[in-house]
Symmetry: C2
Subunit: 404 residues, 2 copies
């Protein structure tokens, strides 16, 4: 349990300016985040707990498909970015002058790190039977403008996974496994119904790349959904005047404004070739390796979940994501009772925030509204007279009295 009196952070009466989306605005107002510079946010304690909950859901689903967690460097070697011919072509690449008179990259993505890293460990076809690694780590993009709060950052938290395969068929099979894991992530985050698996323009080695685009009423992307088979298409791959579904050839579609939350790519041998990754097959032949990559924007998801589930006034977190499952508002001299109740709830794996501050009910109830914790408990002389504590879901207007 956490005692709110222990936190130095505060809510604000009104939504601060500085973000063009409501989710980020509400997070600022609730004191979950604060800006260092445009596109780079600090997470206070409640914000960090929320971020970690999203991160852990993603982690569990990547672990479940047998990918191994690692942690790579934010610094990148210029030579490696030159080997892939991306040093001069990736326009959002931060280039960092160093004291030894060189330049490093500040990685916006990690093909240039993971490919030589895994290359050190691969010799034979046996080493590629199940070769997938992921990390959850800060990325950097040298954006000219960064006005969208958590949705478009100069510094942001990503999960990026990379898989290495002997054949296109093995890549294709793993790609579907990863796709299913992503579906489970969005299910657990409460975003299944609003997230569309979308065909987008491909890289060098496949016709399409695949995006997960979420409807939250805002976004930088437009998708076109076939009214017959529901397949979504990014604007960039269709002719708006003559829509033809890439899946079923139907010609009617619905247009939606969406936000990208994840993407998965078949990279083919674009990067493995650049670093000379090969393996020896069972018959002794040297062969190429093909790769897949799979990203999810963790901090971006936090901003979008804030945006999507907020009511007309305040944040409302889904229970899986909320910084705490319960908030107990204590009025009067009942802190010890509150702690006993919190311990009981925690024994059922429900996390608890106790508002034990020396302030009035109005302030506590107002802050609880801003925090958006899904289940609120009030413990006061009045509720104890009525027979226990008052329990109210954040999405309901009336509470019920529950006996201790």
């Amino acid at each position: 349990m956490l005692l709110l009196s222990n936190l130095p952070f505060k809510t604000q009466k009104s939504m601060p300016s500085g973000s063009d989306n409501r989710g980020t605005g509400l997070l600022l107002q609730a004191g979950f985040i604060r800006m260092t510079l445009a596109g780079a946010y600090n997470y206070t304690t409640l914000g960090l707990k929320t971020l970690r909950n999203i991160e852990n859901i993603v982690r569990e689903e990547m672990d479940a498909i047998g990918s191994s967690e690692i942690l790579m460097t934010a610094l990148g070697a210029r030579e490696n970015w030159e080997k892939t011919e991306r040093w001069d072509t990736v326009d959002i690449l931060f280039k960092l002058p160093s004291a030894e008179g060189r330049e490093y990259a500040l990685n916006p993505t990690h093909e240039e790190v993971v490919t030589p890293l895994i290359g050190e460990f691969i010799q034979s076809y046996k080493d590629l039977e199940n070769c997938s690694v992921y990390q959850i780590q800060n990325k950097f993009r040298n954006e000219k403008r960064a006005k969208s709060g958590l949705l478009r950052g100069r510094e942001f938290l990503m999960k990026d996974m990379y898989s290495f395969h002997r054949t296109q068929e093995e890549l294709d099979a793993y790609f579907e496994v990863a796709h299913s894991a992503y579906d489970r992530v969005f299910e657990r985050l409460g975003l299944s119904d609003s997230t569309h698996y979308t065909f987008a323009s491909g890289g060098d080695f496949s016709k399409y790349s695949y995006e997960f685009q979420t409807e939250v009423g805002i976004g930088e992307d437009e998708i076109f959904i076939c009214t017959k088979c529901d397949q979504a298409h990014n604007k960039e791959i269709i002719d708006e005047n003559h829509f033809v579904c890439a899946e079923c050839a139907h010609t009617e579609c619905e247009k939606k404004i969406v936000s990208e939350v994840a993407n998965i790519f078949k990279l083919g041998s674009r990067f493995s070739d650049a670093f000379g990754l090969k393996y020896q097959d069972a018959d002794g032949q040297t062969k190429n390796i093909v790769m897949g990559c799979y990203g999810i924007g963790i901090s971006r998801l936090m901003g979008l979940i804030a945006e999507k589930f907020a009511d007309e006034k305040w944040l409302i977190w889904p229970e899986n994501v909320a910084p705490f499952w319960y908030e107990i508002i204590v009025i009067g001299d009942h802190l010890e009772v509150a702690k006993t109740l919190a311990k009981k709830l925690e024994s059922e794996w429900k996390s608890v925030l106790i508002d034990d501050r020396n302030t009035g009910f109005g302030q506590k109830a107002g802050d609880a509204d801003l925090f958006g914790i899904p289940n609120r408990i009030i413990l006061s002389d009045k509720t104890i007279e009525k027979g226990g504590y008052e329990l109210k879901k954040r999405t309901e207007s009336e509470g019920i009295i529950v006996s201790m």
Copy 2:
């Protein structure tokens, strides 16, 4: 439990070059880490688990003294570094040119972020009753040379805590609380006996700063320990020809080569003044705020623990730090039995690695030696014949048979 067959990493027969210390060399050989560039290391799965264990011990002890975890940005605003007059004076500060034609700092420490951040939430003396925050986050130093592996990084993991106080007395009191928390960290990491609380040269606002210096046989620092009262002094604050103990005025001392693992500073109002942090006292007067800061090098600790506990050949992790508490080597068709045993051990909160690879005993035993996991279990036809599994501590030469 983790199945070793699932990991794409491998050990190496001999220690690779590229590090001037044995700890980092052994970590490279065991496949726990890999370099991106000098001073920037990737953590593979076993390396990351080790790092996280150290991190969690530090986290628990900071939580235990009521500090609140937050997460700050790696990017820093140049204006803030100019406000503290450190933009031009901190020689290891990375300066990052941005697309908007400005420069950002890549933070090596976070006074320039945390001071204005906390400043937003402080008005009254009540807000300073218990105001301490910490983060566990990557830091960057623009080092001319970086040859010491995990011990001196361009990118490295730190815990940094900052406290804010109304008076020097309150700062002094919290400083001792933090000092005790640090002692508990080093106790749990198995470094108590070899870590010296050392007087070092102060900042602007106190006579000394305080370092935690660990004896592991290597290091960049020299300390002088009073033979009477045991107080350690950094070389920089004494006259080597005329030693006088700063604590008891004794004049005999012992010299040791050590490595710095942590430091704690009283910052006074150096940073709070730079950002105009003030509070209103109970009597309505506006007063200055004083600060303390408290660092621990997490990735550096991993390198030093590797160095300290290794025997003449290989890594040996203390149980609290080890990537796994147990490693089960399975020989023959006993994987299901191994999994049952692992579940039993995990129900006692002991983590388990199972070597289920399709290789011989020699390879498995050799890799287990390299990994340095403190408790090894062998499960084979032979041990089952003898009545169960063989259990051997990494530090012992003979195992014992334990019945299932």
